[in-house]
């Protein structure tokens, strides 16, 4: 299982990569492994305003339907349409090609974010 160093993590096993005022969201390797084979991703609409902690996407594995929560508040500016045809990217490349949405950070807050070290400790607890 990988936990890259340059991004932040949430207790709900989402990750966020912040680049200027754009934040990219996805679910962690730990999350995809726990869910199993992802067979469907419901993406948010571009232009939608989301709050920190709000369910903005849905990932479905063979057996389960799971909400994905936004680490940071903002407006959706891009979604990973490639997941419509290849949802398995969430399994095979959770921190890269399996990204879900990009958000323009609004400054309206975030959930509690952890560093890679903190997330590693969190997973061990």
């Amino acid at each position: 299982m990988t936990i890259p160093a340059n991004i932040k993590y949430t207790k709900d096993h989402e990750w966020v990569r912040i680049d200027g005022d754009i934040a990219t969201f996805g679910i962690t390797d730990h999350a995809q492994e726990a869910l199993g084979d992802i067979v469907f991703v419901e993406l948010p609409e571009v232009g939608r305003t989301i709050d920190a902690g709000e369910a903005y996407a849905v990932v479905e594995s063979v057996k389960a339907v799971s909400d994905v929560y936004a680490p940071i508040a903002g407006e959706v500016v891009e979604v990973n349409e490639g997941l419509e045809g290849e949802p398995e990217k969430v399994n095979t490349d959770a921190f890269g090609g399996g990204w879900i949405a990009k958000v323009k950070v609004s400054g309206d807050g975030s959930v509690e974010l952890m560093s890679d070290d903190e997330y590693t400790t969190f997973l061990e607890e």
């Binding site: 199993g36 084979d37 469907f40 063979v62 057996k63 339907v65």
Partner: protein
């Protein structure tokens, strides 16, 4: 730790599942593997693409019925016509209550005129056995629950026969579809039937627990791929096979569940017959249909199904099929079984669907 601890049963293969990285979950009172290291999709592919999948389905129950009245008794407690069975034949059937509703669906194995073997659902075991024993009063039969002593393995997929044959003293080629034989597995008595729940050619193997681990290991050695509950449910749903608690339950009769083909009203009296006849002439209250999503999404159990914009029923089993897309079985109002525009409500949105023919993907069972 919670105050209430539920003790789950383990099959003789529990350690073998854990050793194969089986993800163990509670299922019908047992700890069973929902998937192994490969994951549900690859396990599914192994069975559909010509390999041999091996499933531990020991959670299923087995009941031996023997005695001079065995035939008359089974004609009375099961829906199908047991008199049509020859020795060595298996029959899909059901147990109904007096209201014509399902107690369970079962398979009946005819060993001889005075001895039969029933395979029943795990979750219904104690209910079924209590019912079967209560109804045995007045018949010269003994009804014995052999579930605790028996390991049941399913081998499914085009390579199933090749994987299983080396373990047996009997040529599997001689066992046709829905036929069985009493065999020696490594010298120990067991039963092998050409049956299954996947739509592929394959077998179900009943053996004593004492040899379960050896047989499992030998089958893995012969190339069998372990398959968990998640892939098993995908395989059975694609075939449209009913599952107790989903398509059938104590709230529906064979008329609704499209199981009149195993309910023989012309064979003499049986439990539930009068109620089924009444339901048949009054017409079903709902009908089971097969549907395929046209729009994007995955239809899931309990999602509402609408026809022409008005609520008509709900999904009983639904899934993402790698071969057929979003597919489901659903109960709808009888007048909607064949006409009207279908949609499935997924997270508050209506997603277009259409009626489909079963099975959703081609069956490869050997007829």
């Amino acid at each position: 730790m919670s105050d209430v601890e539920i003790t789950l049963a383990k099959t003789a293969l529990f350690d073998a599942h854990v050793a194969l990285a089986g993800k163990m979950v509670p299922f019908a009172g047992f700890e069973m593997p929902v998937q192994y290291k490969l994951g549900a999709l690859k396990e599914y592919n192994a069975v559909r693409d010509g390999e041999a999948g091996i499933f531990d389905i020991t959670h299923m129950g087995q009941v031996r019925v023997s005695g001079n009245d065995a035939l008359a008794y089974l004609q009375y407690v099961t829906t199908n016509d047991v008199s049509k069975l020859v020795d060595g034949q298996v029959q899909y059937s059901a147990l109904l209550n007096d209201s014509g509703m399902f107690i369970d669906d079962i398979t009946t194995y005819k060993i001889s005129d005075v001895e039969y073997y029933l395979c029943i659902n795990a979750a219904n075991r104690y209910k079924d056995v209590a019912h079967l024993q209560a109804e045995a009063a007045g018949f010269d039969v003994s009804v014995v629950d052999e579930s605790d002593d028996t390991t049941l393995l399913a081998l499914q997929g085009a390579a199933a026969q090749a994987a299983l044959q080396p373990l047996l003293d009997r040529d599997l080629e001689s066992i046709g579809y829905y036929k069985f034989a009493q065999v020696k597995v490594g010298g120990v008595a067991g039963i092998v039937s050409r049956t299954g729940y996947t739509g592929e050619d394959g077998f179900e193997v009943y053996i004593p627990n004492s040899i379960a681990v050896d047989v499992w290991d030998d089958l893995l050695q012969n190339g069998a791929v372990p398959i968990g509950l998640a892939a098993r449910d995908m395989l059975r749903t694609e075939m449209g096979y009913a599952l107790y608690g989903h398509e059938i339950s104590d709230a529906v009769t064979p008329v609704e569940a499209k199981l009149m083909w195993i309910t023989k009203l012309d064979k003499g009296n049986f439990i539930g017959k009068a109620a089924v006849e009444a339901r048949k002439s009054a017409g079903p209250q709902q009908r089971l249909i097969a549907i395929k999503l046209v729009g994007r999404g995955i239809p899931r159990e309990h999602y509402p199904v609408s026809v022409d914009g008005a609520l008509s029923g709900e999904i009983t089993s639904g899934m993402f099929s790698p071969m057929a897309g979003g597919v489901a079985l659903a109960y709808v109002k009888p007048e909607h079984a064949e006409s009207g525009d279908l949609s499935v409500e997924i997270r508050g949105k209506q997603v277009a669907a259409e009626r489909a023919k079963l099975p959703f993907v081609r069956s490869n069972v050997r007829r």
